[in-house]
Symmetry: C2
Subunit: 480 residues, 2 copies
């Protein structure tokens, strides 16, 4: 029975015909995720969770190397605490899930399940920060958060999702701004050098920034269907929350001051980004640096004498070389195995059968290009390492080409409207900075501002919408 189910593993929707359905198919057939009985809440299956564990390991290393410490704060926020910062509560209260009973007793105050933890961190910081000697505080938390949204899609929009949230406090505005930038650069580094997802780095417009933040920085990626994905954000809060929560410290001048704050986060929606950046009609394609299995070994004619033993010897060799490698000895056919690990996006497949053994060679098949190469077993470790590196680079270059080919300047709203309808992607225009023009761009061209890129270009002197003097160059697109 299970065997029969698995034979259908490669039957997924064509990505050019229906990208959304293709995406859902990949999530389910690669066994990344499953539906739960709660609308909008998903189960992270072992293979999907293993990808997240790889993200965690890399990011956590980067956070610790820059002096951050992990903590764990409560999952429940008293309603009165959430209400302390006005903009923040307006942004989040509509999508909070509320706990009203503990056991059989109705609670005197409602608690929401954290949609994000700024308020909890502020309350804790008010308790533990007294002196300039207590600063900076560089905390991070790995946890799940809950937002009671109306619509959902695997990885991209869950009511409950896994993420990390950094929350830091600093003695000066400058230090906090540097921290905001540091973490935003770490996200860009992670996306580009591990996920092979090229990014556009920029600042959000006031309309798009985080509830309660003074500034939000973002890394924006382009998916295969040319839509945008906000991959990670880093916020600078000034001392707004610190004032609202009455957090003070005695400075070197012996006066009381409010500290300056940041927060920053990435979530499992990055896995959605990975799928939509690199996947193809055979399923998932994973960059080697984050793939749970980097090489799968598939024995050919495994019933013949000596074949399994020779395959196991290669398994051991590659394990010793630090490769994440799996040998599939199951009694499924090689054809079934090929399809299975293609669906799961394993970067490299190694085939070894009796004929290869005679000639001291094996076959390596690349998931990204499908290319098959016969290689010598001598120095196999180096060959594999080199090929994994080539795949990692190749995926990045392909995604980079997609981003560059589909980012184009436009002089007017009309041009944005026309070209966006034709080809999607990112339109870049000059902008006066007014909300009205941003709203008009949304209403008439169907795009939102992705960011004000840090690397500004001068495309002209006037706003593409209203013709008034321009302040910034902005990227526009349709976002997930």
């Amino acid at each position: 029975m299970a065997q029969d189910k698995r034979k259908q593993v490669s039957q997924i929707t064509d990505m050019e015909a229906d990208f959304a359905q293709w995406f859902t198919d990949v999530c389910l057939k690669a066994e990344l995720i499953d539906y739960s009985s709660l609308k909008g809440v998903f189960i992270y299956r072992p293979y999907g969770y293993a990808i997240w564990e790889n993200f965690q390991k890399i990011l956590d290393g980067m956070f610790k190397a820059t002096g951050h410490e992990n903590v764990y704060l409560p999952m429940l926020i008293p309603e009165s605490l959430l209400q302390k910062e006005k903009d923040h509560v307006e942004g989040f209260a509509p999508e909070c899930a509320w706990v009203t009973y503990g056991g059989s007793e109705e609670l005197e105050e409602r608690y929401c399940i954290r949609p994000t933890s700024e308020t909890l961190f502020c309350e804790h910081y008010a308790h533990i920060i007294q002196s300039h000697r207590d600063l900076p505080k560089l905390y991070n938390q790995w946890c799940s958060v809950l937002r009671w949204e109306k619509t959902s899609r695997p990885f991209l929009r869950h009511r409950e999702f896994l993420w990390q949230e950094g929350h830091t406090m600093h003695a000066t505005a400058q230090e906090a701004q540097e921290e905001t930038e540091r973490m935003f650069n770490i996200y860009a580094d992670f996306c580009e050098n591990y996920l092979a997802m090229p990014v556009v780095k920029g600042r959000k417009t006031d309309k798009e920034k985080f509830s309660g933040a003074e500034a939000t920085y973002t890394v924006e990626c382009m998916m295969h269907d040319k839509k945008a994905l906000q991959a990670g954000t880093s916020h600078y809060f000034g001392d707004g929350f610190a004032r609202a929560f009455n957090i003070t410290f005695a400075g070197k001048d012996n006066q009381l001051h409010h500290p300056f704050q940041t927060s920053w986060g990435v979530s499992t929606r990055l896995i959605g980004g990975l799928i939509m950046t690199h996947g193809d009609n055979n399923g998932l394609v994973l960059p080697p640096k984050v793939a749970p299995i980097q090489v799968v070994i598939i024995p050919v004619a495994q019933h013949k004498p000596g074949v399994l033993e020779a395959n196991r010897a290669l398994l051991e060799r590659l394990q010793k070389a630090g490769v994440r490698v799996k040998l599939d000895e199951s009694d499924n056919t090689p054809g079934w195995k090929f399809a299975e690990y293609e669906m799961k996006g394993v970067p490299l497949r190694l085939e070894l059968g009796p004929k290869d053994m005679e000639q001291n060679q094996c076959v390596l098949a690349r998931r990204d290009s499908g290319e098959k190469t016969v290689v010598s077993l001598d120095g196999l470790e180096d060959t594999v390492a080199q090929m994994l590196e080539d795949i990692q680079k190749g995926l990045y270059q392909r995604a980079k080409a997609n981003l560059e080919e589909n980012t184009y300047p436009c002089a007017t709203l009309e041009e944005v409207k026309e070209r966006m309808a034709q080809r999607g992607g990112f339109a870049k225009t000059m902008w006066c900075g007014d909300l009205a023009c941003e709203m008009r761009m949304k209403e008439e061209a169907g795009v939102s501002s992705r960011c004000i890129p840090l690397e500004q270009e001068h495309l002209g002197d006037v706003c593409a919408c209203c013709g008034k003097p321009a302040k910034h160059m902005v990227y526009w697109g349709v976002a997930y």
Copy 2:
């Protein structure tokens, strides 16, 4: 200001005068934990969380080495799902926190925040298990759970706490029983060989077993105050949940069968156990294998030329040798630093000043014994490694002696009552197996059954309570 606060770091309650207050003092002053504004919910501070991260790393490695995979399931359980297994809901419903509103809308069905996830795993397993080829399923989850209890203590009883919960499904009862035992042995190994906490391995009586389980295995530890701590449990469920949740698989015989189930967990209460096993009147004492900082380097006369450089050179040497080492270059006095890292239980302190430098030596001070040794800087890496090993062993032996000296046989309930009042610890008696005698032991001697040890001793032929023929030898004690 902060400086002044810190000077009081060593002012904790005497552990012999008031063990409970000593424990709370250590939790707060070693900066392991903080109170939140929610009653019974605590904040895991960086130092406390770092201990948990070390536990996670070791246990996760053990779980994966035995074929387990991590997953993440929802934090919310629909009320109807929780009610599917009768014993289970009776055990947990009274301490559930209930979500009744999503945003501004009242929900049609209430959801509880998971107090444990058997029901969620069963629902998922019903979805993904069809064939004997899908078994075994060996899943584990790292998460927080919530139990709305009336009383609370740091680490020992939180309304919200961090834990891992393994949930596995097997084709046969025997395989599931073997899994229950395997995980229970992993917990015993972890407690003894990493936490330096000797354990008594046994089975819970029917009264004390987990709601819905057929059998619960436990590792029981003895704290410094001679009370018991249940350190980890492993449950065998038979096919009870599988029947309640209609989980079936097609066997090799092409018939439908119900799979057999286990679950097992340890939580951050183990940190409480660690504190209460090894701590002393100077604060925390951590076994080197789980200490976030294994060696702290404290420069003596650090303002003198060359001292800081020489200390930094040692930092680098020990880091290269794989030691978790910290150099405290702050401008606090050495005396303050000594007290601070003693409070935090750092196993080994290294002091290096100008005189030591002249003689190519340094001072090593053991946290467990207070013993100071002058050692050569030649081969320092080996000396440190050896001393850390000695500390690890010494802590275990001291705890083992405490356990052995305070475990004693009793022939009658009267004897249990008398000796328990005098000295606490574990009383071991023969028992007929009847609930009535177990209840009487609780009412009259104030002790609960800790376990029916796997290593049974023959202490006599009759039950210590009723004089009827005995079935088992049981350990009794007062438990956290």
